[in-house]
Structures are given as C-alpha cells and as structure tokens.
C-alpha cells in the first residue's frame, strides 16, 4: 500500500504561545516546501519554541547557530550541497524581524548579493517578541513596545517601519514577495515560487503576535486578514524588481478597525494622539496608492 505523503513537518507539542502566528506560518511553509529541505533559523521566537534539547519539533534538518548569521550559515550549507552535487535539496532561512531588519541585515545583504539558491523568509511580528516586545526597525509608527512605551507623554514608536521589500529588491534578485497566514494558498504558492527560482529569493511574511500586539489568541488569523484588508500589509510580488502581482482589496476596511483591535495601538485612538494616528493613516494611504490596492483602482498590474 502506498503511504500517503506527510504534510506536516513541524511536530505538535512545541512551546509556542497560544495563537502564535509563526507556528501557523511554518506549518504552511513546510507543507509547501516538502521535506527535501534544510531550514536555518537565527535565534528568536521560532528557535526557542521549537528546539528544547531532546524535544525538537523539526522533522526536517534544522540548523540554528546565532542571532545575526543565519543567511551566512545558509550560504555555507548551500555551497556545501552544491559542492557535493546536490541540487535537489533546498535551503531556506526562516528568521524573525529582529534578525532580518536589524542585527542580521549585513549578513542577509551578503546572501542576497551572492544570489545563491536560497529562499530567505522573514517572519515579521514587528518587534523583539522573544525577549519581551522590544521595538525593532520593523515596528510600525505609533506602536507601543517595552522600549518605545506609550505613556501619558509619549505615543510609542516614533520611526517609520523600514522598507525591507525595497532593500531586498535593490539586490537585483529574481523574486521578492509578501505573504501572511490568513491567505494560506497564496502563502504556499509564493513559497513554491521562491524555491523554484534559480538564485536568492526573499519572502516577507506578517505573523501577528497575540502577546506582543495585544489581542486574543483566537484572533490571529483575523488580525492577519485585517492587516491586508486595511492596507497595512499589502500582498505583492516582484520579479526581477518589477511589480508583477498585487492582491486587490475588495472591501477596504477603516484603519481604525486594525488600530482598535490591538493593545499596542490603543493609545492612538484618543484625541491627543490624533496627529500620530493621521501619520499612521498616511502610511496606509501611501500603500494603497503605491500598489493600487483598491479593487476599483486605476493602477493595474
């Protein structure tokens, strides 16, 4: 009797928080990649909740070295597999926004520039969640974190989120895209596309965090969907630096719906912070315009 192929290479029973967006994402990633793959992860939430000694949740080869070197470790593995003549085994990095945007950006830039056949996936929960919700350069404007706290006299993160898509594209790589867990078919298709290109690819994935963002653990998917429907997180795809596909929003939701639903933005809904909220809305409006996100928009890609 033919055995059915397994489709879950992240074993249950790991230590992720209830409602963790990352664990959902990784299940989908591995379902799309299959098991002829090596995963490299930097230090972070994913590393911590999947790898207590003797209780690894990984059913594919998984390598963790340090916080800021996963792309270079992946380069070494890819080079070694190539040297051995193994072109079939894929190499993926799955790392958080702290590792991607901040401490490992140099290493990532080197990897993308070298254009070896590696898929880099950033799981972006928009702060250092593993160490207790400190801001990263992926934290959006206005969000309250433990190092950018909203208090009676402050409104949270003062800087704009860094443009990782722009950074990735500036390395002249073949494929750059965004995805999020509320759209699993889209996410898995993008993983497959990222793995199919002959060179480096970058996939940016929003993974809502109940603990860090401040919402109930059964709302993770809803929050992921809302990030797209409000224009906060556009789903886009680039090929060789050209925007080739955008997920249009049929029914654009008010930004307020997203802000009100999360504790990190709650302070923005008061009158005193109206100007900051306006700036946040500007970011969203820019996204809508830049990518032509609205269904009836004239920008057609």
């Amino acid at each position: 009797m033919k055995e059915e192929p397994r489709d879950n290479y992240l074993a249950s029973g790991h230590n992720a928080c209830p409602g963790c967006g990352v664990s959902i994402a990784v299940r989908l990633i591995l379902r799309a990649s299959g098991n002829n793959v090596v995963v490299v992860s930097p230090t972070g939430c994913l590393e911590t909740f999947t790898s207590p000694y003797g209780m690894s949740a990984w059913e594919v080869p998984w390598v963790h070295s340090l916080f800021e070197n996963a792309p270079a470790v992946a380069s070494g593995i890819r080079a070694a597999l190539d040297y051995q003549g193994n072109k079939d085994t894929q190499v993926m990095v799955i790392g958080g926004d702290g590792a991607t945007y901040d401490i490992g950006l140099g290493s990532l830039s080197g990897m993308l520039e070298r254009n070896q056949n590696i898929l880099y996936i950033c799981y972006d929960n928009e702060a250092y969640m593993n160490t207790g919700i400190q801001r990263s350069s992926a934290t959006p404007l206005g969000a309250s974190t433990t190092t950018t706290p909203a208090t009676a006299s402050s409104y949270g993160e003062k800087l704009q989120k860094k443009d990782m898509i722009g950074i990735a594209n500036s390395h002249n790589i073949e494929y750059v895209a965004t995805a999020t867990i509320a759209y699993p078919q889209d996410l898995m298709r993008k993983i497959k596309t990222g793995l199919s290109v002959n060179g480096a690819a970058y996939l940016h994935m929003l993974t809502p965090c109940p603990l860090g963002w401040g919402f109930e653990s059964d709302e993770t998917i809803a929050m992921s969907r809302l990030s797209v429907q409000t224009g906060f997180f556009p789903l886009v795809e680039y090929e060789n630096g050209e925007l080739i596909r955008v997920k249009k929003i049929i029914d654009l939701k008010p930004v307020n719906n997203y802000l009100r639903a999360q504790r990190r933005f709650k302070h923005l809904t008061t009158d005193e912070n109206q100007d900051i909220k306006d700036k946040v809305c500007q970011v969203v409006r820019r996204n809508i315009k830049k990518y032509g996100l609205q269904e009836n928009s004239n920008n057609d890609y």
Binding site: H64, A72, V73, S75, A80
Partner: protein
C-alpha cells in the same frame, strides 16, 4: 620517510605557500574576506579557483563574521572548509568560533597574527588569537613557513577526527611568516590527501535523516554539553601528538607535538615562547650555550589544548623560566605566563619571570634575550623575583614617568 620526488621545494612567500597547501587539502567551501596581513592567502586562493585548480566553492563573505558562519554551514553539511583572518577580523569571528566549538563543527582557520586596535597597528603580536582561547578552538602556533605549511596539513586531520570535531587555527605571525620568503617544500596533493583522509563526520545535515542543530538547553543539561566540548579539546592533545609523529614518519618534518624542547635537558634557565620568536630565541640559546650558559627553550606549539603535563615535565627540572608573552590580559599579566604559573601550582620550582614583549611588531632580537637573561640573573641574585608580569623595555618618558 617519503621526501617524495614530485613534492617540490622552492622559495615562496608564506601566504602563497599556505594558499597552495590549502589547495592541496581541497576544502569544499572557503569563506573569504580580506584583512591585512592575511589578504595574500585569500587572493591566491581566488586565483587558484579562477584557474580551475581549486575545486571547492570560493564564497566571498560580507564580513569575517559571515566568513566564519559560512564555515559553520559547510561543516554542518559535512564538507571540509577553510578561512583566514587577522586581528579585528578574528575578533569579529569570535562569536561564531565559540558556536562552532560548542556545536562540534570543525573548520580550519589561518590566524595570521596581528595586533588589536587601538592604536591601530598592522604588525604582529598574539593578542588577537589569544583572545579566542576560551572558545574551544584548537590553536597551534608555528615558527616558520615550513612549519606553517606542515601544521595546516596536520591540523585538518586533528580537527576532523570524529573524536575531536572542533574548529582549529594555525596561528602564524603576520609579516614575519605571512610575508617573508623562505625555501619551502610543498607536498604533492595525493600525499597530503592520503595523510589527512576525507572528512566524514558522524552527523550531518541530511533530509533523509533530519537532525536538529543548535538546540536550546537549560541549566539541567548545559554544563554537560560544555564539559563535552572541554573533553573533546583535551582529547585533541593525543591526536596532535600522534599526528605530528605520523607526519614525521611520512614527510620527515617534525616540530614537536604539543611542545618542542630545545636544549632543555640540563638547562637551569628555560625560555618559554610561541611563534616566530622561537626561531630567534634558538639562535640566542646557541650563542649563550657557547658562552657556557645552561639555557634552553620550551616552545609552546599547542596553546589549546594547553600542554600542562609537558610544561610541568620540563620546567620542574629548572631553576627559572622566562616566559615571553606577545599578549596579555589587562591587570592580570601575560596570558601564557599566567597559564604557565597556574600549571606549576604546588611545585616549588622554578621561579617564573613573565615578560610582555613584541607587542605590535616591536622587534625581539637575540640581544633581547641576552638583556632579559641579565635582568633575570640580577633578580635571582637579589632573591627578588617579581610576581607580576613586566612590560619589557617601556619608554618611560612616554609613560609620563
């Protein structure tokens, strides 16, 4: 002994001799990043790659940190790897080298020794590699170009041994070894590969047999993991000794295993040193012997693993050890001197005088040894041996004193 006909002897720059030797060892992955005075090695490896003589993947890194991380990945995938660095580059690699040792992933580095900033200085001392001493890396210090060549061959065999599996460094003095030209024998590739064998680790990244690398361990397990790394490094001591002897039998060259004893049998005073100054000191010892002084030299070839027993065996028979350090730990003294003293704990012989000298390329001549010996004679006569290390020949005017 083979002294094979097809192995060739010619006059080469140290860096070129090392690059040619690495080519004969055929690493599958090289992580390359420039820094003075190591740069000629990675340049020559690039040339050998472009000429098709080096089959491995030559990966240009974005930093020394990434270069070392590329070796981590290559070793995890079961492939022989190589990198070279100096000074600040070695410090930037430090976090990765600890990580390779703890994950038991071997890879070989040429540490072309150079001073650390500030002040910025590109000349030799040992502060860079010595700062890595607690990482679990194997460190062999060499005296000249031929020893550097031969030690690279030996160290792969040690590092990749299934009972060892640790990162390893050949520490060779910048300029004096890396840029000097000496007649050197480069060994035929087949001989080298036969000697070293293939890298066949018991574990590697394999989708058919998925393993987890770099797991999290709490207080209930971490000490045991750390202790296993310590044991592996201790185990490498036997392998270094055996490998040096096997190398002698096959290739004819021998520099000692963990240490080399030079005229120590009847010596009353023994100099202790590492690296290229050993060659200078041998000349000084010969000159002193001609004058009837009973002096000898203990060359520390293996700083990690630290050869406690060999040190005890030699130094306990002497009255005085003069340890010359090209590195120090601020407020604690010379690093080698401190460890020599620790290994002699409990024995009432010898006295130990620890000089910090040769920092940032300051020359050490035979005369330096004569001067140190004269100073030591006076100290012995007065019965006043300083317990603290002495910065040799400081410019007191510059020190404000």
């Amino acid at each position: 002994m083979i002294k094979n006909k097809s192995s060739e002897s010619k006059t080469l720059q140290g860096s070129i001799a090392i690059a040619e030797t690495i080519c004969s060892l055929e690493p599958g992955v090289i992580g390359a990043y420039p820094i003075t005075p190591q740069t000629h090695i990675v340049e020559h490896l690039a040339k050998l790659t472009e000429e098709g003589l080096l089959k491995g993947k030559y990966i240009i890194a974005d930093s020394e940190f990434s270069a070392a991380s590329i070796l981590f990945g290559a070793a995890a995938a079961g492939v022989r790897s190589y990198s070279a660095s100096s000074s600040q580059g070695l410090l930037l690699m430090t976090e990765v080298i600890f990580n390779m040792a703890g994950t038991r992933l071997p890879g070989v580095f040429s540490a072309v020794n150079r001073s650390l900033s500030p002040p910025i200085n590109i000349q030799v001392d040992h502060q860079d590699s010595m700062t890595l001493r607690d990482s679990g890396v194997i460190q062999l210090y060499v005296e000249n170009i031929q020893e550097a060549v031969d030690t690279h061959i030996q160290i792969y065999k040690v590092a990749e041994d299934p009972e060892v599996l640790l990162p390893a460094m050949v520490c060779m003095d910048g300029w004096i070894i890396s840029h000097a030209y000496e007649p050197v024998t480069l060994w035929q590739k087949e001989l080298v590969q036969d000697f070293v064998g293939t890298f066949d680790p018991p574990y590697k990244v394999d989708p058919l047999k998925p393993l987890t690398y770099g797991a999290l361990a709490d207080d209930d397990k971490i000490t045991e993991f750390k202790c296993m790394t310590d044991q592996a490094l201790r185990k490498s001591a036997d392998k270094i000794t055996e490998t040096a002897e096997q190398f002698r039998d096959l290739f004819g060259n021998y520099y000692g295993g963990l240490v080399e004893k030079y005229k120590t049998e009847d010596a009353e005073i023994v100099f202790v040193a590492m690296g290229s100054i050993v060659a200078t000191l041998k000349v000084a010892i010969d000159m002193l012997r001609k004058k009837g002084r009973k002096v000898g030299l203990l060359k520390i070839r293996s700083f990690r693993p630290f050869p406690v027993n060999a040190i005890k065996e030699v130094l306990r028979e002497t009255n005085l050890a003069i340890v010359i350090d090209r590195s120090f730990s601020n407020s604690a003294g010379g690093i080698l001197g401190t460890e020599i003293k620790a290994s002699l704990y409990g024995s009432n012989k010898p006295f130990v005088i620890n000089y910090i000298a040769g920092i940032g390329g300051r020359e050490i001549y035979p005369q330096t040894a004569f001067d140190m010996l004269k100073e030591a004679d006076e100290m012995l006569e007065k019965g006043k041996i300083p317990s603290e290390a002495i910065f040799y020949n400081l410019n007191m005017q510059m020190m404000g004193g």
